[in-house]
C-alpha cells in the first residue's frame, strides 16, 4: 500500500525528483539528466502504475491522490500530498492535472523478441518533435500497432511531453532502436514483414490498393516536412501514399500514421 505523506516545505528533499521540470538544464528527463520517466495527470499516472516502469513516488493534491486510491493499493511507494501552490513552486509551473508520478526506466524488449511476436510495426526516421512522437504512440496503441522502431533523428519517447501527449501509451507500446540505418530494415524483411514507406510522392501506390491488409507490415514514416530520406525510401519494399486533395502538401505525421495504421489493420 502506498504511504501517503503530507508535505509542507517546498524544499523537502523527498520532492527532488519533481523539482524544476521545465528548466532545461536541471530537469531530470533530459538526456544527460537523470532519465526519469514523469507521468502527469490521473489517466497517465494510472498507465504508469500499470506499466513495467518501477515507480519511485507520486506527488499530488489530495483530491487526485484519492482518485488513484485503488491503483495505489498494491504498491509500496510514497505518495506525497501537497497544496497546488507548493507543487507549482517545486515543479516550476502550474500543473492543472494536479498529480505527477516519477519512475525509473525499464529495459525495453529486445528487438529480436519484438520482431518475432509483432504483426504490425511503425518504423520512424527523423521524428524529433516530442508531441508528434507522443501522438504517434497514442495512435499506434489505439489502432493495434504492436511496436515502434526508432531510426536516426527520433527523440526520446519517454521525454515528459511525449509521455503526456501519448496519454501514457508510450508506456504500453514497446519500442526499440533500429540500427544500422537503413540496412537494419533487412531484419524486418527476414522476419516476414513488408516494409511499406509512407510518402506523398505521386509514384507511390495508394494505401488501399497496396494489398497490405492482413499482412505483417512495418510502416516506415518520416518527419513532416523533410519526409523520408532517399536511402530509407530505397530500402523499403514498396512506397504507399494516402490519396490527398490538390493543393494540400501533407498531413501531420501522427495523423498520417493513424490513417496508415487503420488501412493495414
Amino acid at each position: 500500500m502506498a504511504q501517503v505523506i503530507e508535505i509542507s516545505d517546498p524544499a523537502d528533499p523527498r520532492l527532488d525528483d519533481f523539482r524544476d521540470l521545465s528548466t532545461a538544464d536541471r530537469r531530470p528527463d533530459r538526456p544527460g539528466g537523470r532519465g526519469l520517466v514523469i507521468a502527469e495527470g490521473v489517466v497517465v499516472v494510472e498507465r504508469l502504475l500499470a506499466s513495467p516502469y518501477p515507480v519511485r513516488s507520486l506527488l499530488g493534491v489530495r483530491r487526485r491522490i484519492e482518485v488513484l486510491d485503488e491503483h495505489l493499493a498494491g504498491i509500496a511507494v510514497p505518495a506525497y500530498v501537497a497544496s497546488a501552490e507548493l507543487m507549482a513552486e517545486v515543479v516550476g509551473f502550474h500543473l492543472n492535472r494536479g498529480v505527477l508520478a516519477v519512475a525509473d526506466r525499464a529495459p525495453q524488449p529486445d528487438l529480436a523478441g519484438l520482431l518475432g511476436s509483432a504483426r504490425r510495426l511503425a518504423v520512424l526516421e527523423g521524428v524529433g518533435d516530442h508531441e508528434n512522437l507522443g501522438a504517434l504512440f497514442r495512435n499506434a496503441a489505439a489502432l493495434g500497432v504492436d511496436g515502434v522502431l526508432l531510426g536516426p533523428g527520433c527523440s526520446d519517447p519517454l521525454y515528459r511531453r511525449s509521455v503526456r501527449v501519448s496519454m501514457g501509451h508510450v508506456l504500453r507500446v514497446p519500442f526499440a532502436q533500429l540500427e544500422p540505418w537503413p540496412s537494419g530494415l533487412d531484419l524486418l524483411r527476414a522476419n516476414g514483414f513488408w516494409v511499406a514507406a509512407l510518402t506523398p510522392k505521386g509514384s507511390a501506390v495508394g494505401l488501399a490498393d497496396a494489398g497490405l491488409r492482413g499482412e505483417r507490415v512495418a510502416v516506415l514514416l518520416g518527419a513532416e516536412g523533410p519526409g523520408l530520406t532517399d536511402e530509407a525510401l530505397a530500402a523499403a519494399d514498396l512506397s504507399v501514399r494516402i490519396p490527398m486533395a490538390d493543393g494540400v502538401d501533407s498531413l501531420n505525421v501522427a495523423t498520417a500514421a493513424a490513417v496508415a495504421f487503420y488501412a493495414i489493420a
Copy 2:
C-alpha cells in the same frame, strides 16, 4: 502591387490590427473584438492571400516579406516591414514565423449551396478546442472533405490559433452553422447525405463495413471525452466506429476524423 513600408516606431497606429494579439481582452480575433482574421507564417499568409478574405495589411521582417513577393504582386495592401524586436513588442510575443497578415471576414457560402455541391461533409458538435478544430480542417482539406458544418458548442474556426494549426486550410474549406440542432441534420438527408455518427460504442458498425465509400456522406463528430450527445446519435442514420485496441479509450477528434475521412473517400 503591395506597398512595402518600413516601420520604426512600435506605437505606429498603422500596426493597430496586430497589437497585443495574446491579450485576451484586447486581441482583435475574439468574439466581441474586431473579428479580424490573422494568418501567421509564410505558408498560411499565402493561403490567406489566395482566399476570398479581404486582406488589410501584412507585417513581417524583410526576409519574409520578400519571400511573399510574387503573391503580393497582384494586391494593393500595405506590407509593413519591421525588425523582429519591434514586431514582438507590437504583437506581444515573439513570432518565430516572422510574418503576419490580417484580413476582414468574408461571408461563408450559404448552407443550401454547400449542401447542393458537396459530396462529403464533416458535422461537428461541441468541438470547442481551437487546436483540434484547426487540425480537423487541415485533415478535411487533405482528405477531400468539401465542407464543415458547425453544431452547438464549436469554437470559431477563424480564431487565430485554429487558423495556424489548420495550416490556413480553414481559409479554404467552406463552413457554416447548422441550426436547429440536431433536427437540422434532416436537411442533409433531404440533400441525399447519409449522416454517419462516429462513436467508440461497441454497437456501432465498423467503418469499413458500413458501405459508405462513394456515397454522399456527412460524418458526425463530437468532442474527445464527452463525444456526441444522445440526441445527435439518435438523429444520425447510422453509427460507425473505428476498430480500437483494448484498453484505449479514444483517438484525438481530429485524428479520428482523418481516419473516417479516409475511410469514406
